[in-house]
Assembly symmetry: C2
């Protein structure tokens, strides 16, 4: 028997056929359909993305009878909704492999302690996708699209995100693909997933949930963040000529985006830095786009409110022939890994080796895309000025090679005066309490090239011994215990050698570091700069 999967698939479809009209399932039949097609022990992928959620299907899954459906192995990018964990409490599922669980991180940790589920592993997105084609191929996938036609073709629209890889891995290993859609129409704006790859579509009673995850209100950016952004531009972007990049999420990098058309422009950097991006359509990038800084942006997903702006800026964004965006997390992560010269992002904790983590006690959050984009792509072979220069600085061996710039940008103290620099990451304790193989490090110290704080930039590429590296980190760690523990003489020596650079060393005029430098100071400014094309979600419309 060499076609067991196909035979099994056929019997599942047979059980389901009375519940569907062709491929179309009525909303009130969905739980029955899931009970008909799912078998105990199945590996099931539920589309939980960074933004888009197959929420109707998640709820339906949480409502199946655990006598019928149990011991599922859930594989899922992002656990965002309560139902994503309810299935474990109810005995429907027992094992989980995932990437990110931000909003559910605390509950996940509690449930793990209570023995309510078993975690396979925490992944970076692209890694999890790779396993979908190897040892974690889903037997059933519950995905999410904007619309379907009656034949079952899908239109994912702007927020394509993970849908293509989930569907491809499942459909081509004799699995079953069920899609919730906001509407069923006669003619789709465009086909994103052919019906041959889809088994069932169901119109959800209300549109799928979507989170405006990448929107940052410029009003909340501090002057410290403006100062750090100025240092980033002068000390790293300009220094290395960084053209192709990814920005992490948060206010630190939003500040950089917002001073491109002011500060970077004043340094004559237009066209010389930050031209090509692997990035969600950050509203904070609007002023830089309007100023002509940006040549192209390829995105993991879209961003609520940016639809019309994207459509009107098709020279910059990847859009379909219907005018709406095409995003694709797998391909944008690939671009981030292999075609970007720099990743810059924030973190919660950095240790003396430069290892960073957002894992804190009592929360199992995962890291999303940061481990992938914040790692040196050792398979990369094409040169660029930024990559070659970083490689030269790092060079110790006899064989020259390039190096990705990986910048960790933090204020020395987070909110509630928690120090960003620590002797030992919380990740160690978390690994022990959660029984993980290794401490959950977001970016390993040997991949980090620069640490940037309000005190300055430490260039770890130029450090030649572990001691120098430790002192370089202490030397920008401010008044944290780690910073106070510095060897002052050695830190001054590192500064003399240009390994540590203070604002003055960079020629950054601290008096300019005010909010006046932000090309947009509020959400309203962003809307105005977009010519009214950007339409922020209600919660951000504070004027």
């Amino acid at each position: 028997m060499w076609n067991k999967l196909a035979t099994n698939r056929a019997s599942r479809l047979e059980r389901a056929s009375p519940l569907a009209d062709g491929k179309v399932v009525k909303a009130d039949a969905i739980t029955a359909l899931l009970e008909a097609v799912i078998e105990p022990g199945d590996r099931l992928c539920i589309e939980g993305n960074n933004q888009k959620q197959a929420d109707f299907l998640a709820k339906a899954l949480a409502n199946v009878n655990p006598q019928v459906v149990h011991d599922l192995h859930i594989v899922q990018s992002v656990l965002a909704l309560p139902q994503h964990l309810d299935v474990f409490e109810k005995g429907i599922a027992s094992k989980l492999d995932f990437s990110f669980s931000g909003p559910q991180a605390a509950r996940l940790a509690r449930m793990l302690s209570a023995g309510q589920l078993k975690i396979g592993a925490i992944h970076t997105y692209l890694e999890l996708f790779g396993r979908y084609f190897t040892d974690l191929t889903p037997r059933i996938s519950l995905v999410c699209a904007q619309a379907a036609d009656r034949a079952g073709n899908l239109y994912t629209g702007g927020n394509t995100e993970d849908t293509p890889v989930i569907v491809e891995s499942t459909a081509f290993r004799q699995g079953i693909v069920i899609a919730q859609v906001n509407e069923i129409v006669d003619v789709l704006p465009r086909v994103d997933i052919p019906t041959d790859w889809v088994d069932f579509v169901v119109q959800s009673p209300k549109p799928h949930y979507i989170e405006p995850l990448f929107t940052r209100d410029p009003a909340q950016i501090s002057e410290i963040q403006v100062l750090m952004a100025m240092m980033a531009i002068k000390g790293i972007y300009a220094e290395y000529g960084v053209k192709r990049l990814n920005h992490g999420i948060g206010f630190d990098t939003a500040a950089i985006e917002l001073i491109l058309p002011t500060y970077a422009e004043s340094l004559g950097l237009k066209g010389k830095i930050a031209t090509h991006w692997a990035l969600n359509p950050h509203p904070a990038l609007i002023p830089a786009i309007e100023a002509g800084f940006v040549e192209s942006v390829h995105s993991f997903g879209s961003e609520l409110g940016m639809e019309d702006y994207i459509r009107a800026r098709s020279d910059v964004f990847f859009t379909g022939r219907d005018g709406s965006m095409r995003s694709n997390r797998a391909l944008s992560q690939t671009a981030g890994l292999y075609a970007c010269d720099m990743f810059i992002g924030s973190t919660l904790q950095i240790d003396l080796d430069g290892n960073s983590s957002t894992a804190t006690l009592g929360r199992i959050a995962g890291f999303g895309g940061a481990p992938n984009m914040g790692s040196d792509a050792r398979g990369r072979r094409h040169g660029s000025d930024a990559w070659l220069k970083a490689g030269q600085e790092a060079s110790t061996g006899s064989m020259p090679r390039g190096r990705k710039l990986v910048v960790q940008m933090v204020e020395t103290f987070r909110e509630h005066m928690a120090p960003a620099f620590v002797e030992k990451l919380d990740a160690w304790q978390l690994a022990e309490s959660a029984g993980l193989d290794l401490p959950p490090v977001m970016i390993y110290g040997d991949d980090v090239t620069h640490v940037l704080t309000e005190e300055g930039i430490a260039n770890l590429l130029l450090c030649r011994t572990p001691e120098e590296r430790e002192q370089a980190i202490r030397g920008v760690a401010g008044y944290t215990a780690v910073g106070l523990g510095r060897d002052k003489r050695m830190v001054e020596n590192l500064r003399d050698r240009g390994i540590i650079k203070r604002p003055a060393d960079l020629g950054v005029d601290v008096s300019l570091a005010t909010r006046d430098l932000l090309a947009a100071k509020s959400m309203k400014d962003l809307v105005r700069t977009s010519g009214g094309l950007y339409r922020p979600p209600a919660r951000f419309r504070n004027w």
Copy 2:
């Protein structure tokens, strides 16, 4: 003006419309169509894959009038056909970014010396794909599919290879996609690429060229290769419990595949090693599949003659609902990078640091997928026994992490007595003569974990100093000058510490290393083992 690309696209389509009937173009109109839609200076992607070639479109492009179409920037995975270089000789194209040029490597080097083209860079496949979404997005793509329907939907069939990424990058940045197909039909077996992503289809006068690149005749496997395969299985596969892996191309790894059902079976390793693969459907894997060794294979492309076997073994291969294979180079390379615990492959030269290269003087060949799969994925976060054990062996720092196994497998002398071990790679001279940024290294020494020759296995993970590493390499380099230059006392010390292992140290009985151990000794054996389902191309049918 923010929609220049879309406007320009519209005017190209308008120029082309008299030459097409909807999306369908007649074969004899193709050169005129290309002259109508291509503009001087365009970045153009021609689908040259490892196996499948858009050969009709490549010829048509070589026939355009250089007065009309010139200075193209060609982006292309594999340069395989003479026409791929003719366009540079004729002045149609001037710049090239690529991954592999095996069959055209010598001519490419000559043309580069003669100043007939400029090379942007040499990439690994996934890296080039990443750039398609960043700074090397094609304006025009000439791709290849098995069939189209009259609406322009494409069926790529088993050899999907690079088509999805090429089309996605081009179609969603307002580019133009032209597909050659073997036939235009009323109803496709399945839709792989929706017509919304395609502009023109043309039926080529004969089916596209396809190369059976991964077929190795077992009759050509030597007893030395059997011995090395035994060492690989006992000393690496069993030692680390390697379940998820990729094999490079060649007879060395074909020998491993062919002794899985004999030698590995006798060691009780079935189900414990080599269960999940990122691999083209190698005919040499048939005996292991039939013996129940293999749980799943996801492929970059397909292999000529394997169609019916794949269809009949859908539990193992990824196949569509029409029964034919679905391959996808980008996703299989992602699996190879992030979900495989080991890459094992051959090379032409290894230096004293373990850097390896297949670049030799007068040939600019590139490396295909090896740099990606043969690199430690530093973004990987999930554990496996093999990865954790390798990481423990390598551990020197305070933060534990895992490590991919990267094995270079070579006989100490290649054909014509050329030594595989050298003091300095030819890549250095090639970099100088071709003006490359860096020497073209296939796999960097610090990513290589094991070097395997007929003399034994050197475990570089356990070496603690550069000197130990050099002597470990010399210690398996046999009678090459590098091998003869070993420090005998130090090599014996490394052997005592288990860093170098000879066959006897591994418990490998050299007297068993005969061709009798091969589960198939000829092409005919492979066919027989497949139950007649495997149908080798004529050139391999030597009985």
